[in-house]
């Protein structure tokens, strides 16, 4: 739990402080001084350190484990194996579905992927645990592994992914202009700078977990079920999260090992995955393959889209990366077909990475429409406008808001698109071929019900409490802005407490939903607190406003007065003192009144109560258009992104300064995806051979040019209480195809396999 009082950060300017103001990050001072204690940096007495031993095969059985040398190594407290670790109960999944197995062992005898945890060593110090873990000897009976998506069968059809209208096959066959191509994305990793890890401490049957988490209540549920203790006995603490990008929403096998070790030893245990283990202990983005076929008339109007997708999943776990999610809504088409399979390979079960589904989906359709544009000799931007979807083609509903036409216009203007020479290889600067590419992106507005506690204290300050989190999106800041504006107090008097599951509950921070959910909940709770204050001020005989002929009062800058300004004006502390109140607190929520306690519990600990983005009369999405310039060395095939202009519609921005940072972060991760990032699997042993931050290449500062972002959003009342739509995922969607399209424009070569590396160009 962390309190940010804002006296160091806040500006006095009301314009900066209001919702929509460019207030600097209120958690910033703690982060730039090193004072911010991240979850597993807590200093505990008697802390023991655990280190994992991973399988060196991708498929087979553990036949023997020799722990003798490790057990006698200096400082070792325990060596845990599948046979010696305590038995846990199976836990339900994130939909709340019951477990397939009654028991759960986080250390395995049956290996299904390389790096899977087979043993763990606990010692007095980290160095002793690392050294002893190297002494654990494991013997295997190895069986052949499926290491790659192309090694498997056609896979398992996922019928729920099928979307069809019209007669797509016949319309494609009859179309006068056709393009059809396959687009591939490799296994990619979130690679947050903070590794996964945790500290677990038991006090009797009460478990405290300090762990970076995108979902405190969901993870608390899992721990409670594993250990058979009441949900209330588990406390998750996650004051800051050093990046998640989708990877930190679930309690994982290593989490279970640490909590079990702490229970068995009766001591707090710290377990942090080393960097290579961060590539095998949880899933990155699944490798994907898509074919996109588009049939059009000679004016460029799409007649049919036929889409087939496949993604890899694990031998013992299911992950569906929805590859038709953008394909089915970006362009108007009378005929459409999309189907998807998954193929089981020997990998850790893939997981969510920024814009799961939408990101690879956009790579397919946004490259394909570019190919269609060249086939017809139509400008790629014009091509997109010709096929602009005036309503959701799939749901057949009106868009809540869709500022995509405005995004194309604003982006093209700022980028100078009109000066583009259309032919490939027609723009150059000396040795460098220059290419300009465009692509669109979108992400659905994922909504959920939320709650928040708002307290107005006797000294005039306010507190906001929630078990939601801030992993850099700016939750601390925008909730302070929301509470300050609603209560009528200066932002520097608002403190925000997040990251503790004992606080007002919150669902998952994922799918770009948190800001919309939580600003709505804080707005409601703060409004309730304010109503109570005003009600007391008008009704309490001790109040100077008692007997005033007013229906309400106004609170501004921490002072309370009648709306007409004809009565007394006093500060909140003066009023609270007069009323004899220590505090006024309100827990506000947006949960339907009809929800039972079980439904409320499910609302925060599962994703089963998420509200569909096409609920009711509207289809709700964020939108964007990316304009990219690349420079390709003609001899060496090296690609550099030299300019990016993106225009984005995230509805109303609660804090543009922080939203722009998130957009740019998404764009930069997209540059990495397009040019650098690829998990390379060794074909002999199914091992990730580049599982570290030097060989799995992330963009560095030297790879990234200036990036211009333009907000074209308008408040969207159908998407959230305060009018915002999703921010965090949107920025990455469409970046890779914009770069691929620019590379084609520069070189005349169409690279359909990411990343676009030099050997694919020369």
């Amino acid at each position: 739990m962390t309190v940010h009082d804002m006296k160091h950060a806040a500006s006095d300017s009301a314009r900066l402080e209001a919702v929509g103001g460019r207030l600097s990050r209120v958690d910033g001072p703690a982060k730039i001084t090193g004072a911010a204690k991240y979850a597993f940096e807590q200093q505990l007495e008697g802390l023991a350190h655990a280190v994992l031993v991973g399988a060196t095969i991708a498929a087979g059985k553990v036949t023997a484990i020799d722990t003798r040398a490790a057990e006698t190594a200096p400082g070792v407290l325990a060596v845990l194996t599948p046979g010696s670790i305590m038995e846990l109960k199976g836990a339900s999944d994130w939909f709340g579905r019951p477990p397939a197995e009654e028991t759960y062992c986080p250390l395995v005898r049956e290996v299904t992927f390389s790096g899977q945890h087979v043993a763990a060593v606990v010692a007095e110090t980290f160095e002793q645990a690392v050294a002893a873990a190297a002494l654990v000897k494991v013997w295997y009976d190895e069986t052949p592994a499926i290491v790659d998506l192309s090694d498997g069968s056609d896979g398992i059809p996922i019928d729920a992914m099928t979307k069809e209208w019209g007669d797509a096959q016949a319309a494609f066959a009859a179309a006068p202009v056709r393009v059809c191509a396959a687009y591939n994305t490799p296994r990619e990793f979130q690679a947050a700078m903070e590794p996964h890890g945790l500290i677990a401490r038991w006090e009797g049957d009460a478990l405290t977990i300090w762990e970076p988490s995108q979902w405190l209540d969901g993870m608390a549920r899992t721990y409670a079920e594993w250990f058979g203790v009441p949900f209330e006995n588990v406390r998750l603490v996650s004051p800051y999260i050093g990046g998640g990008f989708g990877s930190k929403a679930l309690a994982l096998a290593h989490s279970a090992v640490a909590a079990a070790a702490a229970k068995m030893l009766g001591r707090p245990v710290k377990l942090v995955l080393n960097r290579p283990q961060n590539f095998t202990s949880y899933g990155g983005r699944a490798a994907t393959r898509q074919t996109v076929a588009i049939g059009a008339d000679r004016e460029g109007r799409i007649q049919s889209i036929v889409h087939r997708g496949v993604n890899e999943t694990a031998v013992d776990g299911m992950w569906v990366e929805p590859l038709g999610s953008v394909t089915s809504i970006m362009y108007a088409t009378p005929n459409f077909s999309s189907k998807q399979n998954v193929v089981r390979v020997n990998t850790v079960v893939p997981g969510a990475k920024r814009a799961p589904g939408e990101n690879p989906s956009a790579f397919g359709i946004e490259c394909a429409i570019d190919e269609l544009a060249y086939e017809l000799g139509i400008d790629p931007l014009e091509m997109r406008l010709i096929n602009y979807a005036e309503q959701d083609p799939e749901a057949k509903k009106a868009w809540s808001t869709r500022q995509l036409r405005e995004a194309f216009a604003a982006g093209a203007e700022a980028f100078g698109w009109a000066k583009r020479s259309p032919a490939p290889r027609s723009m150059r600067d000396g040795h460098q071929l220059i290419g300009w590419g465009v692509a669109a992106g979108t992400y659905p507005v994922r909504r959920a019900y939320g709650e928040a506690m708002v307290k107005l204290l006797a000294d005039g300050s306010a507190e906001v409490e929630s078990s939601s989190i801030d992993m850099g999106q700016g939750t601390y800041t925008i909730l302070a802005q929301t509470a300050a504006e609603t209560l009528g107090v200066p932002v520097k008097q608002v403190s925000v407490k997040l990251g503790d599951s004992r606080l007002a509950r919150a669902g998952v921070t994922g799918g770009s939903r948190l800001a919309g959910v939580m600003t709505g909940a804080v707005y409601k709770a703060a409004g309730q607190a304010l109503d109570e204050l005003i009600g007391l001020a008008l009704s309490d005989p001790r109040s100077p406003f008692h007997g005033l002929q007013a229906n309400t009062l106004v609170v501004k800058d921490g002072r309370i007065a009648s709306p007409r300004g004809d009565g007394p004006e006093i500060s909140i502390p003066e009023l609270m003192g007069t009323l004899g109140r220590e505090k006024i607190e309100a827990k506000g929520d947006t949960v339907p009144a009809s929800f039972t306690p079980q439904q409320r519990y499910n609302n925060y600990t599962t994703i089963a109560t998420a509200i569909p983005h096409t609920e009711g009369d509207y289809s709700r999405h964020s939108w964007c258009a990316h304009f990219v310039e690349v420079r390709v060395d003609e001899d060496f095939g090296t690609v550099r992104v030299s300019r990016v202009v993106s225009a984005l519609d995230s509805g109303r921005l609660y804090n543009p300064k922080l939203a722009e940072s998130q957009w740019k972060g998404g764009i930069i991760m997209g540059i990495g995806q397009a040019l650098l990032e690829e998990g390379i699997v060794d074909r002999r042993h199914g091992r990730i051979v580049n599982g570290n931050l030097a060989d799995y290449m992330l963009p560095t500062n030297a790879d990234i040019p200036d990036i211009q972002t333009i907000s074209v959003g308008i408040p969207d009342p159908h998407s959230s209480a305060l009018g915002g739509k999703g921010v965090g995922e949107l920025g990455i969607v469409g970046v890779a195809p914009a770069i691929a399209n620019a590379v084609f424009h520069a070189t005349g070569k169409r690279v359909r396999d990411l990343p676009i590396t030099l050997e694919k160009l020369i």
Binding site: A9, S24, R25, D27, G28, P29, K31, I32, T33, G34, A35, A36, Y38, E41, Q43, P74, T125, F126, E127, A131, Q190, A191, A192, M193, E194, P195, Y240, I241, G242, G243, G244, F245, V272, N274, R275, M471, G472, G474, K657, L658, S661, Q662, K664, G665, G666, I667, I668, M669, N692, L693, A694, L698, P699, T700, N701, A702, I704, P705, D706, I707
Partner: protein
């Protein structure tokens, strides 16, 4: 005693005879060193095994967790600290190597009265971070980058800050912050 990598990070070479000295004559066990480290102007005594890195000494023994562990392999820059004013990767430096040196971590960058270093203030103003985990390393690198005279242009800043990874993608804002701080420090 030191060598520079192309991105400006310093690697501490072993002493000329190849042996790191035990700082104490009163050695409690054959596997433990008694060290005296000067960190942020304060002396710290600690008993550690020779294999303990400066990074783990800071984080696990001295409660100085501002210096971050991102990779523990010298690849990400999150653990960047200053040793005698030069930027050093604490994960690739043994604690025993820096006895007698002056170590500065993120906790020691602001003035005693809390006045922020110009680089810290610029990072806040330019929103040059999101999750904040790489940030201490970025700031320590940036302070050294400016001091080294490698903040003359945006291109130069990008190159000499390339040893510090940021997965949130704050790079353009980091460049803006370093540019701003360099200008302030020059004037």
């Amino acid at each position: 005693m030191t060598s520079q990598t192309h991105t400006g990070q310093t690697i501490i070479d072993p002493p000329e005879d190849g042996h790191f000295r035990n700082g104490s004559t009163n050695q409690p066990s054959p596997t433990t060193l008694s060290l005296h480290l000067t960190i942020n102007g304060r002396d710290h005594a600690l008993e550690v095994e020779p294999r303990v890195t400066l990074l783990d000494a800071l984080r696990e023994r001295l409660a100085l967790t501002g210096t971050k562990k991102g990779c523990d392999q010298g690849q990400c820059g999150a653990c960047t600290v200053h040793v005698d004013g030069e930027r050093v990767l604490a994960c690739l430096t043994l604690a025993a190597q820096v006895e007698g040196r002056s170590i500065t971590t993120i906790e020691g960058l602001a003035d005693e009265d809390g006045t922020l270093n110009a680089v810290q203030a610029a990072f806040l103003e330019q929103d040059a971070f999101q999750c904040g985990y790489c940030t201490p390393g970025q700031i320590m690198s940036a302070v050294a980058c400016i001091r080294e005279g490698h903040a003359g242009s945006d291109e130069e800043i990008r190159e000499y800050m390339a040893g510090n990874l940021c997965r949130c993608g704050a790079y353009p804002h980091i460049v803006a912050a370093v540019r701003q701080a360099a200008k302030e420090l020059r004037s």
